[in-house]
Amino acid sequence: MRGEDSHLGEFLRFRETLFLRGTTELKKLLRAKALISAVFATFIISNIILFPTSANAASKYPLVITSAGFQAKINEKPTRIISLSPSSTEILFAIGAGKQVLAVDDNSNYPLNVPKSQLSGFTPNIEAIVALNPDLVILQIDSAKSKSVRDSLTKLRIPVVMEKSAAKISDTYNEIELLGKVTDRSSAAKSLTTSMKKRITTILSASAKKERYRFFHELDNTLYSATSKTFIGNVYKDFGLTNVADAASSSDSAGYPQLSAEYLIKSNPQIIFLADAQYGETAATVKARQGWQGIDAVTNSKIVELPADIPSRWGPRIVDFYEIVAKAIK
């Protein structure tokens, strides 16, 4: 019974994708019940010819995946997922697995109607998680005692997908596809990554610049910044921009050094991105800072107030961030 269901489902999805190629013959074949097996054969052959990888294959449960160095065994398709990572939440909903999500952590706020709970993603409370009776938990490896939390949940027979923060955009794609596989939404995941890659390529080629702009990405008004080795720094790097924080990259192994005001003024960035706009920093407050008046970005009013969350999540909305940067350097 289950086998038939998945095959039929697969077939329907396959039909959606082939629809664009205008295979009206398939539509006719569908109505002929007796020819289901021929259809079935066609499906298999087409699958092998046109999609050599199994990227769009239905997830077969039980499923064993490895993520962030930890294995998880998922026995059946998860329909009561608890996501303790805002980025994962965005991904899950973007690939259409939103119906399978039971609850999300207290920092997950996008899309707007997510089932937000009071569970903490930073200091997970095992009992509170168990009380909701999930069948899968997505946990950030940076959270407190994450390994012990995972061990305890595993002992209670709840599979845990460990998630590591993305270091570059390709990590994001891998994450999306992994979650697609886990939730049996692989094809949606694949289309998402494909469209993301396409949009980014378009954006990048449209803004190919001859000069390399110097920029400063401000995390807070004590001048903490992010170097090119961070996730966000990599985005800027894709645009070929020069990050003034890179000169201080040795002072913090994680890539978040604090710059001195003197250095910043001397390095004379041409654009300033304010990641602390949500905390009250604006173009006006920056212009009012003592000694900053001579900086190019201030003189030419090239100060960009970034929206909250978008620069700090590694999910589908990172493309929006690419757009913001592209617009800023136009």
């Binding site: 009071q118 409370n125 009992e127 998680i129 168990v130 009380a131 390994k147």
Partner: protein
Amino acid sequence: MKLEMQQIKPVWRWQVNAVFGLALIVVSVVAISIGPVSLNFNGIISTMLGRDSLLTDQERTLLLEIRLPRVALAALVGAALATSGAVYQTVFRNPLADPYLLGAAAGAGLGATIAITNTGKSFSVVLPLFAFLGGVLAVLATFLVAGKFYTDPSSLLLSGIAVGSFATAIQTFLQQKNSAVLRPVYSWILGELTVADWESVKWAAIYIIFALGVLVKISKLLDGLMLSDEEAFSLGISPNRIRMIAVGAATLATATAVSVSGLIGFVGIVVPHIVRGITKKATNRALLSIALFGAAFLVLADLGARTLIAPAELPIGVITAFIGAPFFLFILKAKRGRSQ
């Protein structure tokens, strides 16, 4: 102003211990019965008594592998901190001494930071060990820095402050260079019993019970440390030797507690005074009572930590501070009142 001649009748000792012991058991039962997942009370009792349980497998695992070790750890850590605090208050003749004097806290924090910084994702395995070593080494350093004045409590205290400041400075420097460790380190410093497993409970129990045993055994002699050295000598107590043993055992208990649960404040200062207030015993024969009360106190505080703002967890240090801070004011008032 009329001076009140206080009459103080101490409470009979073994009865106090029996009452506190009972309180500990009751509080522990309450603690394992309450949590975000509600378990059938009869099921809990029958599982604890080893009979055929009325709980599902998952519930059994939750009770035995998640709640029970956490309550056990809270009891051990509470006893360790309360007793160490009482002993330090005696040795340093200072009613506001806490178990983290002599640089133990700063040393453990530094150890934890080093562990988190250098071992990447597997730090949770080595962290307790590093914190423990950090605490013990810091106290040893304190003795070395005090040099030949190591037997003088005030010199020891000063050198403890010096060692502690140094350790904190190194810790801050490491954190600056590795900002990714900030959150794990601070969450550890605030004190967490969030995840406890039987392995940590086993090691904590071995060290803490041993250290507390030593302290209870020499508890009578500890009273001599409250007198001048000559008086202690005349009573047959060798003050230097007893001081060393007491500080050593208390440090062992403290370092162990810190390594499994981070820095939980106020327990070490507040509980000895509460117990002395109840039993009206100023001598160290109250040490066992202090240990039992400390255990019950922290089990209760941990219960609060995981239920007050459920499903989020309150750091346990916040709860002990909430109770401890007003209590401090109370002690200050009482001291001032008495000396007038």
